[in-house]
Amino acid sequence: MTERVPATLIDKLWNTHAVAMREDGQTLLFIDRHILHEGSFHAFNQLKDRGARLARPDLTFGIADHYVPTRAASTAANPEAAGMIEQLARNARDYGFLSFGQFDPRQGIVHVAMPEQGLTVPGVLLVCGDSHTSTHGAFGAYAFGIGASEVAHVLMTQTLWQKRPKRMRISVEGTLPPGIGAKDIALTIIATIGADGAQGHAIEYAGSAIRALSMEGRMTLCNLSIEAGGRLGMIAPDETTYAFLRGRPFVPKGDAFEQAVEDWRHLQTDADARFDREVTLDAAAIAPTVTWGTTPEQAAAITSAIPDPDQVADANKAQAMREALRYMDLRPGQPISDIRIDRVFIGSCTNSRIEDLRAAASILNGRRSRVPGLVSAGSANIKRQAEEEGLDRIFRDAGLEWGESGCSMCVGMNGDTVPAGERCASTTNRNFKGRQGPGSRTHLMSPTMAAAAAVTGHLTDVRRLQAE
């Protein structure tokens, strides 16, 4: 009998997809799902240049999200954006793959709508030309973002050459305090290990606080893996995963589903498997966290003050902090909860799922927002569900705009942007300079924290409002 070598889930999934290996160590991986959005036109142009065909239309799925209009004002006239959406639809027709266009009832943000359709299941290898593809790892899938040349390679071959990543386990143990969610865990991790802390690594999230998260929370956490530099993050599947998936349109039906669950139960890291790096966090120590700078690693607890670059020994780090504070128009020592905001955005592939909308609505219910803002559900289905639950009325009554689903103000490609100089409390994933529009200032936070900021007009510890 051969001795079983203990393996991580990361390695097990890698091995399952290995088609061939080169002398130089590169492995050819089979791709179970290839998801495309409007930005795929660069890759289709490469395909056309080579006169190549689409290898596996049955494993290729499109969705319009980056350029779709998400508010009445942006729907008016944006012919360039409309052209991008039409180009995806045309490629779907020409190459014969299923694509959820702007008015399809299954449309939504790729990382929200595809899991919702049951296209993301445990054990699959999924790629998409978008860095937040790490989201799908929440289901125990091996999922990562790729560039246009890699998209073209997958279109033509349904495979990719990759180097095996190093393995990192981030364990969050204990119970999260009330009012703290997956976004706070993720921002705390990034602030702890840095925006490049997981570079070259695949991450597995583990620990009792992770197990306790809903699928929505797990997706939020895995989504932000890339902001810590990790190309992918994953969570081993469990009953929470199977319960979420059961009955979704594209999962196996009937007995085949239960048989799949039996297989998926084996997708676990062996108890004695080794990781290249281990990080452990205490769930009880995590506070509501917001970013104050221009990289997600510049994040701190809402109860703290803006750090002072003069107190930082590393001269380069201090210089980067000063530049971030200059851009954000903030000063060292200022209490973070004193920061006034001009606008709020609730949406994006990070935080636009039904649980996120319910959480934000629970704070806004019966209250008014002091600033204008936009709420954009992650998918057309979630929008409908939220309306059935009356959440749209809560947002509207609070004075916020209830928009359509899409990437929207997270990246501003559809024209929905934060005006220059304005400060936005945002449930998104990147506080980069100009990310939400040239000159915009972004503070990242959870949906409840964004709702609390809307109610008070400044960054606010949501626990204060929850206590009222």
């Binding site: 130089d24 978008d130 860095s131 570079q199 380069n316 210089q319 980067a320 100009g434 040239p438």
Partner: protein
């Protein structure tokens, strides 16, 4: 793909950490066809004010107008997977970026477009960035075979994944190699259908 063997060209210092791909090219330019060239969009919002006037940014300095090398601080190219960030660098004329670390997706995209991501230690990056090492009129030499950078009197080694090195030196891309694996791919699929029947999407 154009092979990369060595390069002797002016370098531009960008002493900034965490330069994300949104800085390299703002999202609003990405709908443009590549054939029009992406060079004008490189660092657009760091180079140009909203009213069109030029900002004080190293790449706006006429001394750096012809640079083909950029030296930056850690985590260059983090963030969005947009390959347009590499198109913008390449179309501007940049052929090498030297930094202590790179975003994984950016580095992969770079190599696929013949742009060398040369990884140096934090200390060597600072040496290169320091005033004396890089003088606009004195070119920097980057040699991929020996993995060295020469800037004036300074000689520093850099690292690169050996697979990427070979691809850059030969100007290879993967696709022809992969087409040669079609039998293996078919064999994999046949076995995999038995092993993982649930992996295929079930049509509703």
């Amino acid at each position: 793909m154009r092979p990369f063997k060595d390069l002797t060209a002016p370098a531009c210092p960008l002493p900034i950490p965490n330069i994300d791909t949104d800085q390299l090219i703002p999202a609003r330019f990405m709908r443009r066809p590549r054939s029009e060239g992406y060079g004008a969009f490189l660092f657009h919002d760091l180079r140009v004010e909203a009213d069109g006037t030029k900002r004080d940014f190293p790449l706006n300095d006429p001394a750096h107008a012809r640079c083909e090398v950029i030296v930056a601080r850690r985590n260059f190219g983090c963030g969005s997977s947009r390959e347009a960030a590499v198109y913008a660098l390449a179309d501007f004329g940049i052929r090498t970026v030297i930094a202590p670390s790179f975003g994984d997706i950016f580095a992969s995209n770079a190599v696929k477009n013949g742009l060398l991501p040369a990884q140096v230690t934090e200390e060597d990056a600072e040496r290169l960035l320091s005033a004396g090492a890089m003088v606009a009129e004195r070119p920097v030499t980057v040699d991929l075979e020996s993995q060295t950078i020469v800037a004036g009197n300074l000689v520093v080694p850099f690292t690169i994944d050996p697979v990427w090195k070979k691809q850059l030196l030969n100007g290879w891309d993967d696709i022809d190699l992969t087409f040669g694996q079609s039998v293996e791919i078919e064999r994999f699929c046949a076995q995999d259908r038995q092993a993982r029947p649930w992996a295929a999407p079930s049509v509703p």
